[in-house]
C-alpha cells in the first residue's frame, strides 16, 4: 500500500468512526443544549412576586454560597453517596459472583434475583415506607419478635441517612450485580483454567485475577451509580421529603422544593446547575480512572 493510500484509508476510517458516534452526539446536543442555556439564563434572573423577571447576575450564586441549607444539602448528598456506593459495589460484586457460580440456577430464578431494581423507585419508596413505619411496619414487628429494640428508621435524624442508603442498596445492588455479571461472563475462561492448574485458592483467584480484570466493569458501574446517587431523589421524595428536619435534604430534593414547592425558579436553577457541575466533575474523575484500568 502506498503512503497516500494508507492516509486515505485512515481518513476514511476516522470519518466512518465519527459518523458512528454522530447520531448519539447530535441527538444529545439537540436535547440538552436548550435546557442548559435556558437554565443558565433562569439562574441569572430573579423572579419577583409580580411575575416579572429581572437580571441579577450572579446574585443567585452568591446567595447559594451563603445558604447554610445548601452546604448542609451538599454534606447530606456526599454522605448518602459514599455510604450507598460502597455498599452497592461490595454487595454487587458479591452477588454477581454468587450468581455467576450458580450456573445451574434456572434463568427465571436468576432474573428474580435481579428484580428489585426493576421495581419503580417511587413504588419501592412507598413499599419501604410501609415496611419501615415505626408503629405499623413489619420491620419493627420482626425486630421485636426477635427480642431486638425497635428502630425509628426514617423518622430518626440520625438513622435516616443509613436507612435511605439501605433502601437504595436493596434496590440497586442487583443492578450493579447485573453489570458485573456481564463483565464476568466476558472474561476468558482460560484465565480460570490457568489459575486452577496453578492450584490457586478461590480467594486468591478472585483477588489476583478476577478483580483486576473486572475493574473496567466496576468503574462503569461506579459511574452509572454515581450519576444517580449524587442526584438522589425518588426515594426521599416519597419517604421523607428531606426530613426529619432537614436531615435527608439532598441537593436535588432541595433544588426541587425551591423550584416547585416554593416557586423560586431562579434560585432553583442556580442550585440545579451547581449540582450538575458536581456530578460532572465526579464523572470526569471516574472516567480518568476508566482509562487507567482498561485492559
Amino acid at each position: 500500500m502506498s503512503k497516500a493510500a494508507a492516509t486515505f484509508a485512515e481518513d476514511r476510517q476516522r470519518l466512518e468512526l465519527a459518523a458512528l458516534s454522530a447520531p448519539a452526539v447530535i441527538f444529545t446536543v439537540a436535547m440538552i443544549a436548550f435546557p442548559v442555556v435556558y437554565t443558565v439564563w433562569l439562574g441569572l434572573h430573579s423572579f419577583s412576586s409580580t411575575g416579572k423577571q429581572s437580571f441579577v447576575g450572579l446574585a443567585n450564586y452568591s446567595r447559594l454560597l451563603a445558604d447554610a441549607e445548601f452546604w448542609h444539602g451538599l454534606w447530606v448528598t456526599i454522605a448518602l453517596y459514599v455510604l450507598s456506593l460502597v455498599l452497592q459495589l461490595v454487595l454487587g460484586v458479591w452477588l454477581a459472583l454468587v450468581l455467576f457460580h450458580a450456573k445451574r440456577l434456572p434463568g427465571i430464578v436468576r432474573s428474580l434475583f435481579i428484580s428489585p431494581f426493576m421495581m419503580p423507585p417511587v413504588v419501592a419508596g412507598m413499599m419501604w415506607l410501609v415496611i419501615l413505619d415505626p408503629s405499623l411496619g413489619a420491620a419493627n414487628y420482626i425486630l421485636q419478635s426477635l427480642g431486638l429494640p425497635p428502630s425509628e428508621w426514617l423518622a430518626s435524624p440520625v438513622w435516616v441517612i443509613p436507612t435511605v442508603a439501605l433502601i437504595d442498596t436493596w434496590q440497586w445492588t442487583p443492578y450493579v450485580a447485573l453489570i458485573v455479571l456481564g463483565g464476568l461472563q466476558s472474561l476468558p475462561p482460560s484465565v480460570y483454567e490457568a489459575a486452577q492448574i496453578d492450584g490457586a485458592s478461590a480467594f486468591k483467584t478472585f483477588q489476583r485475577i478476577t478483580l483486576p480484570l473486572l475493574l473496567p466493569t466496576i468503574v462503569t458501574a461506579t459511574i452509572l451509580r454515581s450519576v444517580d446517587l449524587l442526584r438522589f431523589f425518588d426515594i426521599i421524595y416519597i419517604t421523607t421529603q428531606g426530613g426529619p428536619g432537614n436531615a435527608s435534604n439532598t441537593l436535588n430534593i432541595y433544588g426541587f422544593r425551591v423550584g416547585f414547592e416554593f416557586f423560586n425558579i431562579g434560585y432553583a436553577s442556580a442550585l440545579m446547575l451547581t449540582l450538575t457541575a458536581i456530578v460532572f466533575g465526579a464523572v470526569l474523575a471516574f472516567n480518568r480512572l476508566r482509562g487507567a484500568v482498561a485492559w
Binding site: 454468587v98 457460580h101 436468576r110 421495581m119 423507585p121 410501609v130 450519576v227 431523589f233 432553583a268 464523572v283
Partner: protein
C-alpha cells in the same frame, strides 16, 4: 491438589448458602408487595402484619375500574420500546466508536443529560416541545426518555467492546472490511450479552421514569408510572390498589428479563474468541 474435591464440595455448599441468604434479602420485600396486593386495602397497614388472610383480587379490579390502566400500560409500552430502540440505534455505534478510538467525550456528553437533575429539564423541554406542538405526543416522550436510555446503552456496552481483542478487528481490516461492517458483522454478535443487558436496563429505566411524563404528556398519553401516584392522595389512599399497581408495573421488565435470559448467559461463548 489432593484435597481439591473436598474444597470443591465445601465451596459449593458455601455458595448455596450465600445464594439462599441473597435470595431472602432480595426477594422478601418484593414478595411482601405481591402478598399485599392480594389483601383487602385496609389490611395492608394492619398491625401486627397479617400473613394469613383471605386473598382477594379486589385491588386489581379496583385498578381497572378507577383508572384506564390498560391504555396507560399501552402508552408506557410505546414510550419504553420506542426510547429503548432509539437508545440502541444511536448507542451501539457510538459505544463502538468510543471503544475503538478511545476518545471518550461523546460517551461523557451523552451521560451529561443524566448528570443534571431531571427537574432541570421539565420547564425547558416543556417550552421546547410546545414550540413544535408536541406536548402530549408519544414523540416528545420517546425523545425525552431516549436521553435516559442512550447513555445506559453506551456505558454498558463500552466494557464489552473494550473486551474484544484488537487482533479480531485487525484481521477483519486486513480482509478489507470497513469499520461499520466490522461493527455489525463481527463486533455486535460478540457483545450480544452486553446488548441484552443494555436493553433490559434501558427498558427498565425508561419504564420506571415518571418525571418527564408529568409535564410532557397530558391526559391521553400519560404513562403507567405517572398514574401510580394516584393511589396515595389525601382522602383516597388505597395501599392495596397501590401494591397491585406496583406489582403489575414491575411485571413487564421482569418478563423481558426472563425472555432475554438466554442471552444473559450466552456471553460465556465470548471466551472462545478472546483467548
Amino acid at each position: 491438589m489432593t484435597d481439591a474435591p473436598i474444597t470443591d464440595a465445601w465451596i459449593r455448599r458455601l455458595n448455596l448458602l450465600q445464594l439462599v441468604v441473597a435470595g431472602i434479602i432480595v426477594l422478601t420485600p418484593t414478595l411482601w408487595m405481591v402478598l399485599s396486593s392480594l389483601k383487602p386495602s385496609f389490611e395492608v397497614t394492619a398491625y401486627p402484619p397479617t400473613l394469613i388472610f383471605a386473598p382477594t383480587l379486589e385491588n386489581y379490579a379496583q385498578l381497572t375500574k378507577t383508572t384506564p390502566f390498560l391504555s396507560y400500560a399501552i402508552n408506557s409500552l410505546i414510550v419504553t420500546i420506542g426510547s429503548t430502540a432509539l437508545g440502541l440505534l444511536f448507542g451501539i455505534p457510538a459505544a463502538f466508536a468510543v471503544s475503538w478510538t478511545r476518545i471518550s467525550w461523546p460517551a461523557i456528553l451523552t451521560l451529561a443529560a443524566r448528570m443534571a437533575p431531571g427537574t432541570l429539564f421539565l420547564l425547558p423541554w416543556y417550552v421546547m416541545f410546545r414550540q413544535v406542538g408536541m406536548i402530549g405526543s408519544y414523540t416528545a416522550l420517546i425523545l425525552s426518555h431516549a436521553v435516559i436510555t442512550l447513555p445506559i446503552v453506551i456505558w454498558v456496552l463500552l466494557p464489552s467492546f473494550d473486551g474484544i481483542p484488537r487482533s479480531v478487528f485487525e484481521a477483519a481490516q486486513v480482509d478489507g472490511c470497513s469499520v461499520t461492517r466490522i461493527l455489525w458483522r463481527i463486533a455486535l454478535p460478540l457483545v450480544a450479552s452486553g446488548v441484552a443487558v443494555a436493553s433490559i436496563l434501558a427498558f427498565v429505566f425508561s419504564w420506571n421514569y415518571f418525571l418527564f411524563a408529568l409535564v410532557l404528556s397530558n391526559g391521553d398519553s400519560k404513562t403507567l408510572i405517572a398514574a401510580a401516584f394516584n393511589f396515595i392522595g389525601e382522602g383516597s389512599t388505597q395501599w392495596g390498589a397501590l401494591m397491585a399497581a406496583a406489582t403489575l408495573i414491575a411485571l413487564p421488565p421482569l418478563i423481558l428479563a426472563a425472555l432475554v435470559q438466554r442471552w444473559l448467559v450466552s456471553g460465556l461463548t465470548l471466551g472462545a474468541v478472546k483467548g
